[in-house]
């Protein structure tokens, strides 16, 4: 109980310590036959995964633009329905069937209104591309970082510029909430801003 405190072992140099740990970890991986597999993962599988994810972003982007092109075309159709109504109105003074003509005009008007609402909803629905794209870019960044770390560990990695897709200010941002738990929805945001005097 009253033995003198043991002198602390001399603190090894930190870099040396890490190098030692890395060496034994590397040796352990080699003994287990894992080093080749991990090298395969870092050298080929991870870049391949990133490439596939890039492809998904590109694909959804093209699809969303295609949908928005169709929205633009739909708008032109809605405009022409407006023109039809003008024509029908002009014909009213030239026909004995005014009543029928008016109800036809109302039907066209109704169709135009519904079409415009659909086009708005269609454009709005394309927001998924921005949100999914943000999430996928983030995952690509994570995979690139893991790839760089793995290559460093395996010693094959001259720490290649781990080209993170996002800048540092961007990395720090939480981005779209994928858990559905932490983030605010529009009502929460409105209440919060109202409490701040907005």
């Amino acid at each position: 109980m009253n033995s003198a405190p043991q002198p602390l072992p001399e603190r090894p140099d930190r870099a040396e310590l890490y190098a030692g740990v890395a060496r034994s970890l590397h040796q352990g991986l080699r003994d287990l036959g894992l080093d080749r597999r991990l090298a395969q993962v870092a050298d080929a599988d991870m870049p391949d995964a990133c490439q596939r994810l890039d492809y998904v972003v590109k694909l959804t982007e093209d699809a969303a633009h295609r949908a928005l092109d169709l929205v633009d075309e739909g708008r032109a159709v809605a405009d022409s329905l407006g023109d039809v109504q003008l024509h029908l109105r002009r014909l009213e003074s030239h026909t004995p069937v005014v009543h029928e003509l008016r109800s036809a005009g109302e039907a066209v008007n109704d169709a135009e209104t519904r079409l415009r609402a659909m086009l708005t909803a269609l454009a709005q629905a394309q927001e998924y591309q921005d949100l999914s794209g943000q999430v996928i870019r983030r995952v690509i960044g994570l995979v690139r970082n893991a790839e760089g770390a793995l290559l460093d560990l395996l010693g094959s990695g001259v720490a290649r510029e781990a080209a993170p897709v996002a800048g540092s200010a961007q990395d720090a941002l939480p981005g779209p909430d994928t858990t559905g738990t932490k983030a605010s929805d529009q009502d929460d945001a409105d209440r919060l801003l109202a409490s701040l005097g907005f």
């Binding site: 394309q126 998924y128 961007q170």
Partner: protein, 132 residues
């Protein structure tokens, strides 16, 4: 809000720029210009292009929407410029930070045309109130 106002739409996703532009046009705001990140937007503002409203994303490479907002609020020449943030960033402290830096409205993605209209109307009312 006056439908003739000049609006700068800032987002790094071309699809989102197009959607915002689309919805704004639906609401009768046809005078829009686009920028693909804060840097480009800031350059346009510094070059003397006149805008009444900036609708900006937050998370963008180059310059984030928050930095763009800070720059705008730090420039006396842009004192009257209103900024509406449209972003997926939805954490409480982020919303507070944007408010502290003088944002005029905050919309969380995904959003609806109705939300966009409501926020624009609110910003318009306040601008009228401030001018009165």
């Amino acid at each position: 809000m006056d439908k003739n106002i000049k609006i700068l739409i800032v987002d790094d996703f071309s699809t989102m720029r197009r959607i915002v532009k689309n919805l704004l046009h639906d609401l009768g705001y046809a005078n829009t210009t686009e920028a693909d990140d804060g840097k480009t937007a800031w350059a346009a503002l510094q070059a003397g292009q006149q805008f009444d409203l900036v609708v900006t994303d937050w998370n963008m490479p180059g310059m984030t929407g928050l930095d763009l907002l800070k720059n705008i609020r730090g420039d006396a020449r842009l004192a009257g410029l209103r900024v509406l943030m449209v972003t997926a960033e939805a954490q409480r402290d982020q919303i507070i930070e944007a408010a502290k830096n003088g944002v005029n409205g905050y919309i969380i993605k995904p959003f609806t045309a109705a939300t966009l209209k409501e926020k624009l109307d609110k910003i318009g009312q306040r601008a009228v109130g401030a001018a009165a």
